[in-house]
Amino acid sequence: MYHRFDAVIVGAGGAGLMAAAQLAGKCSVAVISKLYPVRSHTGAAQGGIAAALGNVEEDHWIWHMFDTVKGGDYLVDQDAAEVLAREAIDAIIELEHWGFPFNRLPDGRLDQRRFGGHTRNFGEGPVRRACYAADRTGHMILQTLYQQSIKNQVVFFDEFMVLDLLLTENGVCTGVVALDIATGELHLFHAKAVLLATGGYGRVFKVTSNALSLTGDGVAIVFRRGLPLEDMEFYQFHPTGIYKMGILLSEACRGEGGILRNGLGERFMERYAPTLLDLAPRDVVSRSIYLEIREGRGVEGKDYVYLDLTHLPREVIETKLADNTDFVRTYLGLDPVTDPIPIQPTAHYAMGGIPTDVDGRVTVDAQNTPVPGLYAAGECACVSVHGANRLGTNSLVDLVVFGRRAGRHILQFVQENELHPLPKEPDYQARAEIEWLLESDGDEKVATIRAELQEAMMADVSVFRTGDGLRRARQKLGELRNRYTRIGIDDRGRTFNTDLIEAIELGYLLDCAEAIVACALAREESRGAHYREDFPQRDDVNWLKHTLVTRTSGGLELSYKPVVITRFQPKERTY
């Protein structure tokens, strides 16, 4: 089926819906989403959204900008970080005006809480910068934005999965191909502008906070079309995932006063971050947890430590951390009021992704040359405001600030540009992939290959990395790629074929994993979340630059682009 719109947004999380809010009623726009919009993973974000409102104590956007730059270990593009910190304030006020039910101060203004790496006066100590709604801030962002979409009568294509990106011979984006999951029918979306807002790819790792649906769909289709990805080696592990399950326990637990303790009961962050302690950035805390475990100070000598909230008032735990309390009671059968909680780092957030400028335009090289008509925002994009390590709450800030900027730029773009014709046989590639998978009858199982992929990535590409480990992972991925050509699926029907969906998603995961490993192997230094045991120091002389990885007929090719440095020269990073 053929559709024509001015703009098509792929993904209905925070970034996609924020962009839709800018476009609805002003041009023809459709949102394509693999899930019902309210199922998007923005809804799983918990602790808060930062903006230097200064409602509780003195704060300034430039402090927020500095924390973002330092948190990202100076790989952050500082022009983008300035936009993030400045526009966060206005974006949060806009959310409030749209009805977002923020927690309040007694005088009726928005309350703010502490979060990791957010400091006053360039690192002196923690500052209360994160606005929040209990511990379901992301849920309320998703709901508020979906509510606006209903109000604005946005056109949705729910449960449509994106399969391919359409580019003309001259490299102009003209639309996407998507699968209607309910019917198995392919749909062509012909548009002047496409925004990819498909979220992350945490499912490349075994232990992750990410939804099962987070398989890097948008990132992979861009990569397959020969466009570069940026900084794929930087993947964040959140310190506090529920042991073995990976379910996220919010950094707000520590923002409200929670403490990490090892098997000896020690507050071990005193050793690694004497100023910010448990509220050091996530890369620092996750590494510290693993170091404790390695040195035999995990709980009972095992591979976990405790998140201890037992000294906090019951009321704080049950009201400000209500969902976290529910998770712990449901999945562990423990009560955070009286029991310490077993946690381990969990794969959480991709700093890297599709390279964009500050208006969401997808760019292809070191000069930031844009692809006309193609945009990306949210976790699938790399602006880069998170650099080598994202600060807590900045993902939600990223969504609303850059989702909004992308939407506004798209509006201008579709008003000034004509619709380009589609390439010949636009759905050829997508159709071929679907037909191949539906007829596949090999003896390899999607679930088995996926599990081996996740194991390999967890073992050798997670918090600690080495050249040997990365080469081992690369070889394993090559083997899995080969076996993927010999899979067989059980369901050959057209109606709601989730067997087919999972097979397509595995292809996307393989693409993402290969890109991560190639970039990580090349980067011979340690910076932010990318820690090479064989190169434990940050190396600004050789590596203060972004990685670009492109798939060519000869394999993966790496190139680099400079980091934008405006206000803050790189310094040693201590907390």
């Binding site: 899930l35 019902y36 309210v38 199922r39 998007s40 993973h41 809804g43 799983a44 006020i93 409030e96 005006h97 749209w98 009805g99 039910p101 923020f102 927690n103 309040r104 101060l105 007694p106 005088d107 009726g108 203004r109 928005l110 709604a133 209990a134 379901r136 849920h139 309320m140 709901q143 509510q147 606006q148 209903i150 109000k151 309910a182 939804a211 099962l212 649906s213 399950m245 379910i247 996220l248 969902d323 529910d326 998770f327 449901t330 999945y331 059968g333 199982k445 999607v446 679930a447 699926i489 059980d490 369901d491 029907g493 057209r494 109606t495 709601f496 074929n497 989730t498 067997d499 999972e502």
Partner: protein, 231 residues
Amino acid sequence: MQVTLRIQRFNPDTDTKPYYREYAVEVEPTDRVLDALNQVKWYQDGSLTYRRSCAHGICGSDAMRINGRNRLACKVLIKELGSKITVEPLLGFRVIKDLVVDLEPFFDQYRTVMPYLINDEPPPARERLQTPEERELIEDTSKCILCACCTAACPIFWTTEWLGPAAIVNGHRFLFDSRDRATEERLAVLNQRFGVWRCRTIFNCTEACPRGIQVTRAIEQVKRRILFEQG
């Protein structure tokens, strides 16, 4: 431990009516029902079809009937259920395939309550003020994840056309928001023949809500508000 999953199956392309199929799976007592379903789908029968995403009770995708009760499959552990587990699609909606139901009518009802803040006054430069006490009035109902567990548990919904608990919860969320200015229009929607008065306070909705929302209480608060505003 080994458990037997008895799952209602239906593929519209090949079946004329639903049937049950049993699967034996090896699971831990602390596993979720969703883990058991995944075991079946990934290693025994890839054609088994259900929705799922976040796997920890936040996205609302995997609402289904588990041993007769509406639950999220990712929020109920095997040890609660014993070794024989029956899994069926939500009642009251058309089955698309296996455990997947057509939720369009559910979202249609949601849209009828105008689920968005209405306030045409020019906004201030900063946030609108709202006291913690005013905010507390919408704490419970703003937790809704639109999973449909409550609406699909309501016997009135099974037999009669009406808004259903989830839509009313979302109506409540804005009706009781001190920043909203559309009280009259909201009450008109909730007061109509298909509105709150069809509720018979059976409490199935409250029992079914995986977010612990006091759904029946919210419906009663809306009823009272209508009476007070009319009086």
